[in-house]
Subunit: 254 residues, 2 copies
């Protein structure tokens, strides 16, 4: 087990019992789903106005390119266009970003609202983002991102990208400089005084409502010509839905 | 129809056709689910180091208190503790924050990876966050937040909060100064050249995989004494799951 070194950016001050810096845990939360939230600072045109961060939802994937000793986060999405103007001014060091991956696994209902909670997995990563400029790495990252969303899709769609597509696709690479993760996976913990109050206990239902994301039955496009849903699509939707449901149910009874 | 005034923080420069500043649309995305991502700038102890934003996942609800003409976002969660140290230094104006609400509705599979996309609803809000200090507003906001997650839960759990619970609960209130929303809800749009290529069309399945969040069968706590799952819990889980599925399916065929 190895860990990211906590620093001022990632170190938790409260509820430290739920926090880990373990690399495997953080990387598994990143790998569990591709929807990430990315925050960065766009310098206001008037420097006297307060600095607001901007959050953009993006698709991302964790991967280790042959040229790197450690996995990086690769980001893609139309939003990258907006970031590109910012990072172009940041030089080779890159743009300071925060990347967040959050999976909600359940709503936890205790006797009092104060003790209500959620089951979840959350990873927060800090590092500098730079554009992928190497053509080989860019192509590799496109395949990584495509297959992170839908396993085997790269080989089963029209690839490689055209030169125009390559030029129009901006991919950001985030170095993981420090990171932390939190997880909650258990039932409600009610106040002792409430638990001894017969009227409250008799009246208030307590437990966990498991929450999980389902990838539903694929809906073909009007001009789709492949008659059956391919096995790799069917397996992906079923396996993702089953995994999410299992984790939610484990947390509810944990 | 009224709209938030776009400014430098929220104005989209690209893909403007998908962007709206419409208040109803932005507020409906906020109301659709309680999991929000909140970004803010924690000043580094060494001012010469680069400014990294921090993202924290939090539960939130949109609501209009009797003292306000417009709805605000109310935030709650253990993470608020971390923010409290920051906001205490920001004075009455509050802390500049960005709040993001994102709902993934589907994965869109086109002929080429370049044309792959997602169906989604996304709202990004900018404003200053201040602590709720008025005791009446704090109590009202606790009820709002509890019922935003689980409708009718406030009346069906042990309320009101004790004095100690009130003191230990920090609630943040975000003024919506500017905001934007994006939505995609349609099938794949493949490249014309790909669509004319018989080999590609015959080989590559295209369509949408609907994605939706399910609130599963409630799991009672070991010490729960209410024999049946209450109607308001059952209705909530069924109605949320059905709504999310319907929107995902509409987008897949839209």
């Amino acid at each position: 087990m190895s860990a990211y070194a906590p620093d001022e950016r990632s170190k938790a001050k409260r509820y430290a019992k739920n926090v880990t810096y373990d690399k495997d845990e953080i990387q598994s939360i990143l790998a569990a789903q591709p929807l990430l939230h990315v925050a960065f600072n766009a310098a206001p045109s008037d420097p006297s106005t307060p600095q607001f961060p901007t959050i953009l939802p993006m698709l991302g994937a964790l991967g280790t390119h042959a040229s790197d000793p450690e996995p990086h986060i690769y980001l893609h999405g139309s939003s990258v266009a907006r970031l590109s103007r910012l990072t172009s001014n940041t030089g080779p060091t890159g743009l300071p970003v925060c990347v967040s991956s959050t999976i909600l696994d359940g709503y936890v209902l205790a006797l009092s609202p104060y003790n209500h909670s959620c089951n979840y997995r959350s990873a927060v990563i800090f590092g500098h983002a730079t554009f992928v400029t190497d053509a080989d790495e860019a192509l590799w990252a496109m395949e990584l991102l495509t297959n992170q969303v839908t396993p085997s899709r790269w080989a089963n769609s029209r690839t490689p990208p055209t030169r125009a597509e390559m030029t129009a696709t901006a991919i950001l690479k985030v170095r993981i400089e420090t990171a932390s993760a939190k997880r909650r996976a258990r039932g409600p913990e009610s106040d002792r005084k409430d638990a001894k109050d017969a009227e409250t206990v008799a009246r208030v239902w307590t437990g966990v409502v498991p929450v999980y994301q389902v990838l539903g039955e694929p809906v073909e496009a009007p001009d789709n010509a492949v008659k059956e849903v391919p096995g790799y699509v069917q397996q992906w939707t079923e396996s993702e839905s089953r995994k999410a449901r299992e984790i939610a149910l484990e947390g509810a009874t944990g």
